[in-house]
């Protein structure tokens, strides 16, 4: 992206002033190098978001922002219902509540390395992954309804995991305000076989080693020490969320004119928060959040079972569970006034700072764990929400590395088998049903996650706590 026309707010923030139909400026968090590498489409899309009714203060792009559809991936925007604000199906996206959770294991890397291959094979056998894979659980109509209303709480009640997990999940494991009746039969049908499945593409389950501790105090509060083994799970609301996104995107795009909304891009499909369709979408979207939370909870249960078979005394408490694609009602201080806003994060992580009342008591003093996924050969990070980040972008941070090239380009450059062998030589075991899928997700197809995290830290969006290196990756 060319910096021409952008005002430099700091070494890590750039502002595109409001002009034309933009109601507010667009602010991009990046250093000069990340900004130069960003696609021009990020600027265009962040500016388009700034045109939507009721947007407050600015449209934001996180350091990992890349060309999305409608919103940039890594886009954050808040809307005020009292100022005609909107809720946007495009601003949440198809994979509603796609997110990451991180489990502690209490094991050191030296303990698992002799059993690394056995662990990889056992996890691969236990975790349904890849296109066409199905879970073992089939929900009847009543159970589907209960799952959509209950989220991870429903899963725990059904024996998947422990009650202690719930306080380590955003919204206490259950998104309030879900309206299962707003979820279509098609969406339910698409989910029928998919509970407890990982999905495909960039979704994964990784066994990781704490390779570096950047903030010893916060790391200790999170229960992370050098060479500890953790498990990270990245997946979302599966077919149900995809179908809800598909249906409401279309409905909102068609209805926009009736709400006197001019869409700069059809993909920004939105509706007034207080409209019938806006409320129906919020109810369905929240049910999809619950589906994602339940799904990650079920995968956690499967993971714990595998660990218990191999490491008899291993317990896997949950460090935290974050969601990336959401619209949530939050209170934020804007220009000295507390306001109740509908915060959209599309490919961005909520990153609440220290003292936030929504955080569990054990974490409240240091801020929310922010889990950043990398690519399967590089690194992932644990960050902590910061006081400053609450003021910068509604308590939001980046969510991952972001792709550096298209899937097509990746398959042109690499072969899946070679990627698997090369990573095995470096001590990273990949298990996947699809070698083509592995090639598309090759480590170098992604940007350098460390650079993205460094900028997030220096910009003040979140504080760097620990770096995680992969040991085993189950790829869908």
């Amino acid at each position: 992206m060319d910096a021409a026309g952008l005002q430099r707010l700091s070494d890590y923030a750039w502002q595109l002033p409001a002009r034309g139909a933009m109601r507010v400026p667009a602010i991009i968090f990046a250093d000069a190098a990340l900004l130069a590498a960003m696609d021009d489409k990020v600027r265009e899309q962040a500016a388009n978001v700034a045109m939507l009714p009721g947007i407050v203060h600015a449209s934001y792009a996180m350091p990992d922002a890349h060309w999305g559809y409608g919103f940039p991936i890594g886009g954050v925007a808040a809307f005020d219902p009292e100022e005609g604000g909107v809720v946007s199906a495009g601003g949440v996206g198809f994979d509603i509540s796609c997110g990451v959770r991180c489990l502690l294991t209490g094991l050191k890397a030296a303990e698992i390395m002799p059993l690394q291959a056995r662990l990889a094979d056992a996890l691969y056998a236990a975790i349904p992954a890849g296109v066409g894979s199905t879970g073992t659980l089939r929900l009847d109509a009543a159970e589907m309804q209960a799952m959509l209303a209950g989220g991870a709480r429903w899963a725990v009640q059904r024996g998947y995991g422990e009650a202690a997990d719930l306080e380590r999940i955003e919204e206490g494991g259950r998104m309030a305000g879900a309206e299962p009746d707003a979820v279509s039969e098609h969406a339910r049908r698409r989910q029928r076989d998919e509970m407890g499945t990982l999905g495909s593409g960039n979704h994964y389950l990784e066994v990781q080693r704490v390779a570096e501790v950047c903030d010893p105090h916060i790391a200790a509060v999170y229960g992370l020490a050098l060479d500890d083994v953790v498990v990270s799970i990245h997946c979302g609301s599966r077919g149900l969320g995809h179908q809800i996104g598909t249906e409401f995107l279309r409905e909102m795009a068609v209805a926009a004119a009736g709400h006197h909304i001019t869409l700069p891009d059809r993909e920004l499909a939105c509706a007034p928060i207080d409209s019938v369709i806006g409320q129906r979408y919020l109810g369905a979207m929240r049910a999809a959040v619950n589906c994602a939370l339940a799904n990650r909870q079920m995968l956690t249960h499967l993971t714990r079972r595998v660990f218990a078979q191999i490491f008899l005394h291993a317990r896997l408490p949950l460090l935290y569970d974050v969601s990336h694609n959401t619209c949530k009602v939050e209170e934020h201080e804007v220009d000295g006034r507390r306001r109740r806003l509908y915060v959209h994060r599309k490919g961005a992580t909520r990153a609440f700072g220290p003292g936030h009342p929504d955080l569990p008591p054990a974490l409240r003093a240091v801020g929310q764990p922010v889990l950043i996924g990398g690519s399967m050969g590089t690194a992932s990070y644990v960050l902590a929400g910061s006081e400053r980040g609450m003021r910068l972008a509604y308590g939001s941070a980046c969510h991952g590395a972001g792709r550096a090239m298209s899937r097509h380009e990746a398959t042109r450059r690499w072969h899946g088998r070679a990627v698997v062998d090369e990573l095995a030589a470096r001590g990273i075991l990949i298990r996947s049903p699809s070698l083509r899928g592995v090639a598309e997700e090759a480590p170098h197809a992604y940007k350098n996650v460390s650079a993205v995290v460094e900028v997030a830290d220096r910009a003040g969006l979140a504080r760097k706590v620990a770096r995680l290196a992969p040991l085993v990756c189950i790829k869908g």
Partner: protein, 145 residues
């Protein structure tokens, strides 16, 4: 100039940073729709690896051609997801904002198809259904994967 049988009928992918664009060309909009669906299959697997054994009927209605293309591709994505199938042959009939058609394919075989990624939904990003200068037709959009 009307589209003629001399116009090439084919599909291609085009780059999108996070996802993938599908594009179909043909002598008629129907052929362009069919080819775009084939490009959708090619996101997941080599279409030549899919056996057209089972027929699934699809019908959509939309206020304009662009929405109709997205509806058509999303209908195929739905059938792929719920039937755990991949499709290799498509047939489309268009008339005044309505389409009906069919897809032929088989159940996913992970070992044989090596399915790379599941499409989540067709988007309105770079959505276009239009006639080109030479009279042939193009149908395209980005698919979220």
């Amino acid at each position: 100039m009307p589209g003629t049988s001399s116009h090439p009928v084919y599909w291609e992918h085009y780059p999108h940073e996070a996802d993938m664009g599908v594009r179909g060309f043909g002598a008629t909009p129907e052929q362009a729709f069919e080819q775009a669906a084939l490009a959708l299959t090619a996101i997941v697997t080599d279409p030549d690896s899919v056996r057209p054994q089972q027929r699934v009927a699809v019908a959509c209605t939309a206020p304009d051609a662009g929405l109709l293309l997205v509806d058509w591709l999303n209908a195929i994505i739905y059938e792929m997801a719920t039937r755990h199938m991949l499709f290799r042959r498509f047939e489309v009939h268009l008339a005044e904002g309505r389409m009906h058609g069919a897809a032929w394919g088989e159940r996913v075989d992970a070992a044989r198809h090596q399915p790379a990624v599941e499409p989540k939904g067709a988007t309105y990003t770079s959505l276009a259904v239009r006639r080109l200068e030479d009279g042939s037709w193009l149908a395209q959009c980005v698919v979220d994967v």
